[in-house]
């Protein structure tokens, strides 16, 4: 009963792998829905949209309260990703609501959400569901009197020059972001009970989230580096969500403007925003950090065919090929920390695979002297990369009766004793029967 189902699944998997390999298609489609609360955002943030379009994305700009708005039709999603640049929208038009957006993410789609000080309960609600809690004070903004960007026309220190970035090449690209990132908006905190949220851009220890126009009575709820300015969340189904407390972060004005951090002599011609939004959007829309594993193989040392079963103490070789999507093609993934487990209820063997730098990971080990149904299990979870998790089941049997050692030197006395007795018996039979 089980076997045919396994076979069908395997066939499907093979078919999927074959299509992926054949067309060299990325892990995600290229249709993005851009929801705006004001169509002027389309021109004021056009550089960001332009960079998405230049990367081949097909953007569909809609007003967030468009009555014809819909994410899916006939059970099929119309879009592969969502850019939610509509912070003040109290409710979406058409059939879209908070649950529809969350179901969209649950179905494995990606989202960029940008809020600002006008953020509505709807936007805050979506963020909360993604593990990010915006400051509850509706008037609050992130203020930093020590790490602000010097601008002749800005005096209230709400324009933050952020440079506390997460150390992750996969999220931020391999090129270091030199210039500070301009941020003006509201702060949020990553929910500590949610292990999937990462702070990408954190505020400095001197920052706090408060209303800049009124005196502070009680301590602000968010202060210091606990404030996250930009966070990302990668769900268990590899859907990626970026949440920014600033819509201006993506705007042409911040992308094109120069930046000088207070107290610093160097003035950067361009803020780090352009690089930051380009690189993070590459990550969010799976142009980087998406892994796939193909041709999972194992066999006995010296053989090439995959056996149906191993015997205890066999030496085996295990190999898997891992590739990363680079935006245009699948490139070999190079790392030194991919591990395989030989697993039955708990791992019996956990070994780091060695790589040939061309995507092939392999290792060899001896099957433990415990029999039962084992699994080759790879659970690869790295910061920023999609989770790789695949298993292959294999039974392990004990020795057969004739596979044990036959001539044991220490047993020779017993054998000799029996055989000499037998010889003596043979002779004795003559003597007993024919003696006269």
């Amino acid at each position: 009963m089980v076997a045919p189902r396994h076979l069908a699944a395997l066939l499907l998997l093979l078919l999927a792998v074959a299509t992926v390999a054949g067309e060299d298609e990325g892990p995600r489609g290229r249709r993005l829905l851009v929801l705006l609360d004001d169509l002027s955002v389309r021109s004021s943030h056009s550089a960001f949209f332009g960079s998405l379009q230049a990367r081949g994305f097909d953007l569909d700009f809609r007003l967030a309260d468009d009555p014809k708005l819909s994410l899916h039709r006939y059970g099929q999603y119309l879009y592969d990703g969502l850019v939610l640049f509509a912070p003040s929208t109290p409710r979406f038009g058409g059939s879209v609501d908070q649950n529809a957006v969350l179901e969209f993410i649950d179905a494995g789609h990606d989202m960029i959400l940008a809020a600002d000080s006008t953020a509505s309960d709807l936007i805050r609600g979506i963020a909360t569901e993604c593990g990010v809690d915006f400051d509850e004070d509706q008037e609050a903004m992130v203020i930093d009197h020590i790490n602000y960007a010097v601008m002749d026309v800005e005096g209230d220190h709400t324009l933050i020059a952020g440079d506390d970035l997460i150390q992750s090449d996969v999220i931020l690209g391999s090129k270091k972001i030199e210039a500070p990132i301009l941020f003006r908006g509201i702060g949020h905190a990553a929910n500590p009970s949610n292990g999937l949220v990462l702070k990408v851009l954190s505020a400095s220890p001197s920052a706090y989230s408060a209303n800049p126009k009124t005196k502070l009575g009680s301590p602000p709820s968010l202060t210091g580096s606990a404030i996250s300015l930009v966070s990302v969340m990668q769900a268990r189904n590899n859907a990626r969500v970026l949440i920014s407390g600033s819509l201006d972060l993506f705007s042409n004005r911040f992308l094109k403007s120069g930046v000088q951090k207070v107290g610093s002599k160097t003035r950067h011609e361009r803020a780090g925003n352009e690089q930051f939004v380009t690189e993070t959007s590459k990550w969010v829309f799976h142009m980087r950090g998406h892994l796939k594993a193909v041709s999972v193989k194992h066999h006995k040392v010296g053989e090439t065919n995959e056996p149906g079963m191993y015997r205890i103490n066999d030496d085996l070789e295990y190999s898997v090929e891992i590739y990363e999507w680079s935006g245009t093609s699948w490139k070999p993934y190079v790392a030194d920390d991919v591990q395989v487990q030989f697993y039955m209820m708990s791992p019996y063997v956990l070994k780091t695979l060695s790589t040939d730098k061309k995507g092939l990971y392999s290792t060899s080990f001896k099957v433990p002297d415990v029999y039962g149904v084992f699994q080759f299990k790879v659970e690869y979870q790295r910061l920023g990369y999609t989770c790789l998790s695949f298993t292959k089941q294999i039974p392990v049997r004990p020795y057969r009766h004739n596979e044990y050692e036959r001539f044991i030197a220490s047993a020779y006395p017993y054998y000799t004793a029996s055989f000499s007795t037998m010889g003596a018996f043979f002779m004795f039979s003559f003597v007993y029967l024919y003696h006269k």
Partner: protein, 694 residues
């Protein structure tokens, strides 16, 4: 809302609104940043072209307005591109001819008069046949451009063309695209006005003044539909947002500005448009800042150039190069009043009317005239004599044109409010920290704190004691300063943080932490706390975050129902690292004696059988009883051979056979042995009975 009412009262209201609502974006004239942005946006592709004719025109026109030298180098390629289109006017659409002619006009390409004659004939033919607004626009625009280049471009029937275009207008000032469409559009209104302006300037004779008057009336109506933001920014947008026809506010406003200013420049007499709307439109286009797309850039720059030279009212923009003034560097309050492109304004006076504090309290209402620096074209005022302390202020300026007749040429907006910050260093002194006993109130240990640098005080307290911290902040003018951010942070070693706002009184900032009342809040966590003091304000130049030192706190044991400290976020890196390797520990093989010992015992086990053989020899055994008759002898031999075979089978069982094969052979042998054994033994027993009886 308020902006729609053109009454002066509304204007005042608007200014007040602008004072309370922070502007969406700072408005400043077109600068070099725009030039570099334009050069970037209109980057030609690898072969030096900009795409189609329209994009090429937008590029060269933008470069021309911004005075970028770059467009000169493009002349050859773009001229050739345009000339290709112009060479075959009959087969080209009016739109292509329109753009090609305009490219030639901007770049000054040399085009043969004959070529232009052909184009003129073609465009006139288009005008005669069409009833579409866009066709009129392209054809009239093309003819106008040819005329401006010094060629003869006569419009065959200006009067009827004017009527044909006017026929598309709607009662609310909008236009339709053609006679068949019912939808009216603001964008089309701008196009139509530009086309009408073209017809008027192409016409040899004066166009019927009553018609001009009607159109002027339409323009006023069109301006009634203008939309506004709270900060005095005005823009045009379509009433009905239809996905296919929708152009966006920038394109729509640009179209109207182009149309209205073209129309105003060809007709005599004033257009009755309020100055604040013209100024609002200028603010709208400048408020875009650096445009993001080539199209927006073209629309922004061209509209601003039309506004700069329009005959209705030229907007003058009051801008502050800086809104942050430092008392330490004795900054001057500088105000620039320029046209949208940053060129000098006519002679005028700028007055500082009022300075309002952050809570709308009037700080000073003396009317002060700003001095004018002719060289830099800047109005300036020293801040120091104003005796304004540091803080955030709203400054109200008033622009007064010096010559009366300029008031009909320039739109100044009268008074304008700007939010400014005056910053300075704050003197921090009299810092004290100490622990006092609860009951007596006697301070045990007070330490002086120098808050200008990190200090490392070390304190210890139990739950019956209090922590006291006090310090003074004074402004350069000697007043007590109350910053926005005065936080004392206690950070436990388990990363649990507690934040306190240090309350300020008239004299000093002082906080007393009574640990008895705070044990619950501190989750009964004893141990080391790091103390941090953060003082910051937008007007404070020396905002600081100081580590004060450590506090060793001894709190009672937590009762059972005490609240648990909140969960702290775990470091994401610790979660993702590789796991420790596991290798299986195999069962150790059983211990065995050395081989020599086994062999020795093997020999030992052979000894009894050797003794047995020797014993048999000594007894003198014989086999004389072996049957002598051939039959029984054969059976006896077979019987012993069988026994031998069984024994041999046992040897084979050890050497190679398995149990099943052995048992199989043994079965056959057993049957055989029973048979031959029975024969042999019965023979032997009968022989022995015979012997006994004999």
């Amino acid at each position: 809302m308020a902006g729609r009412r053109p009454a002066p009262a509304a204007l005042l209201l608007l200014l007040l609104l602008a004072a309370t609502v922070a502007p969406l974006s700072a408005v400043s004239p077109v600068s070099d940043a725009h030039r570099s942005a334009a050069a970037e946006l209109f980057a030609p592709s690898a072969d030096g072209s900009f795409g189609d004719l329209e994009k090429t025109y937008e590029a060269v026109r933008t470069f021309q307005i911004l005075g970028l030298e770059k467009y000169k180098s493009l002349t050859g390629k773009a001229c050739k591109f345009a000339a290709e289109k112009l060479a075959s006017p009959a087969s080209s659409a009016a739109k292509d001819l329109f753009h090609a002619v305009r490219i030639s006009g901007v770049l000054g390409c040399s085009v043969d008069a004959g070529v232009y004659d052909g184009v003129v004939a073609r465009l006139n033919a288009v005008i005669k046949d069409t009833n579409s607004l866009l066709e009129f626009y392209y054809s009239v625009g093309g003819l106008l451009s040819i005329k401006e280049q010094g060629h003869n471009a006569a419009l065959s029937d200006p009067e009827s063309t004017f009527h044909a275009i006017k026929a598309l207008s709607q009662s609310d000032g909008r236009w339709r695209y053609d006679t068949n469409s019912a939808e009216s559009s603001t964008f089309a209104a701008g196009i139509a006005l530009e086309a009408l302006a073209g017809v008027v300037s192409l016409a040899d004779a004066e166009v019927d003044p009553s018609m001009i008057g009607v159109v002027k009336n339409d323009i006023v109506k069109l301006f009634d539909t203008i939309k506004s933001y709270d900060d005095g920014t005005f823009y045009f947008d379509e009433k009905h947002v239809d996905a296919t026809e929708y152009k966006g506010p920038i394109t729509t406003s640009a179209s109207v500005v182009r149309g209205v200013s073209s129309f105003a420049s060809v007709t005599s007499g004033k257009l009755n448009i309020p100055g604040e709307k013209i100024l609002g439109l200028a603010k709208f286009f400048l408020g875009i800042g650096l445009p993001g797309s080539a199209k927006d850039c073209f629309n922004q720059i061209e509209s601003l150039s039309f506004l700069e030279n329009n005959r209705v009212l030229v907007p003058l923009i009051l801008s502050l190069p800086s809104k942050v003034f430092s008392l330490t560097s004795k900054d001057q309050l500088k105000v620039e009043v320029t046209t949208v492109f940053g060129s000098a304004s006519p002679p005028l006076k700028v007055n500082l009317v009022r300075v309002l504090g952050s809570d709308s309290k009037v700080i000073t209402s003396d009317n002060k005239e700003l001095r004018f620096d002719l060289e830099n074209n800047v109005h300036y005022l020293d801040i120091a004599p104003l005796k304004i302390d540091i803080g955030k202020y709203s400054v109200v300026f008033e622009i007064l044109l010096q010559e009366r007749e300029h008031e009909t040429v320039y739109a100044t907006g009268g008074r304008s409010t700007e939010n400014v910050f005056i910053t300075g260093p704050i003197k921090v002194d009299k810092g004290e920290i100490g622990i006092s006993d609860n009951d007596a109130g006697a301070v045990e240990s007070v330490q002086k704190l120098d808050l200008l640098k990190d200090t490392r005080v070390s304190l210890s307290a139990n739950h019956l004691q209090k922590l006291r911290l006090s310090f003074q902040l004074t402004t350069p003018l000697g007043h007590t300063f109350k910053p926005h951010q005065v936080f004392l942070k206690l950070k436990h070693q388990s990363k649990v943080e507690h934040l306190f706002v240090v309350p300020g009184s008239a004299r000093q900032f002082k906080i007393v932490l009574d640990f008895l009342g705070l044990v619950e809040k501190f989750y009964y966590l004893s141990g080391r706390y790091d103390l941090e003091l953060a003082v910051g304000d937008a007007a404070m130049e020396n905002s600081f975050l100081r580590a004060l030192g450590q506090l060793e706190l001894d709190l009672p044991e937590a009762p059972e129902k005490a609240p648990r400290p909140p969960a702290q976020a775990v470091d994401p890196f610790s979660k993702f690292g590789p796991k420790a390797e596991i290798s299986h520990i195999f069962r150790a093989p059983e211990k065995r004696p050395p081989k020599e010992l086994s062999l020795a015992f093997t020999i030992l086990t052979l000894l009894p059988s050797i003794g047995f053989l020797i014993g048999l020899m000594r007894l003198g055994v014989n086999v004389k009883n072996f049957p002598s008759l051939p039959g029984p002898a054969a059976f006896a031999s077979l019987f012993h051979a069988g026994i031998g075979a069984v024994l041999l089978l046992y040897v084979l069982f050890w050497v190679k056979l398995d149990l099943f094969t052995t048992l199989k052979y043994l079965g056959f042998l057993a049957v055989f042995l029973v048979f031959v054994g029975h024969r042999t033994l019965s023979y032997l027993s009968s022989a022995s009975t015979k012997q006994k009886t004999a």
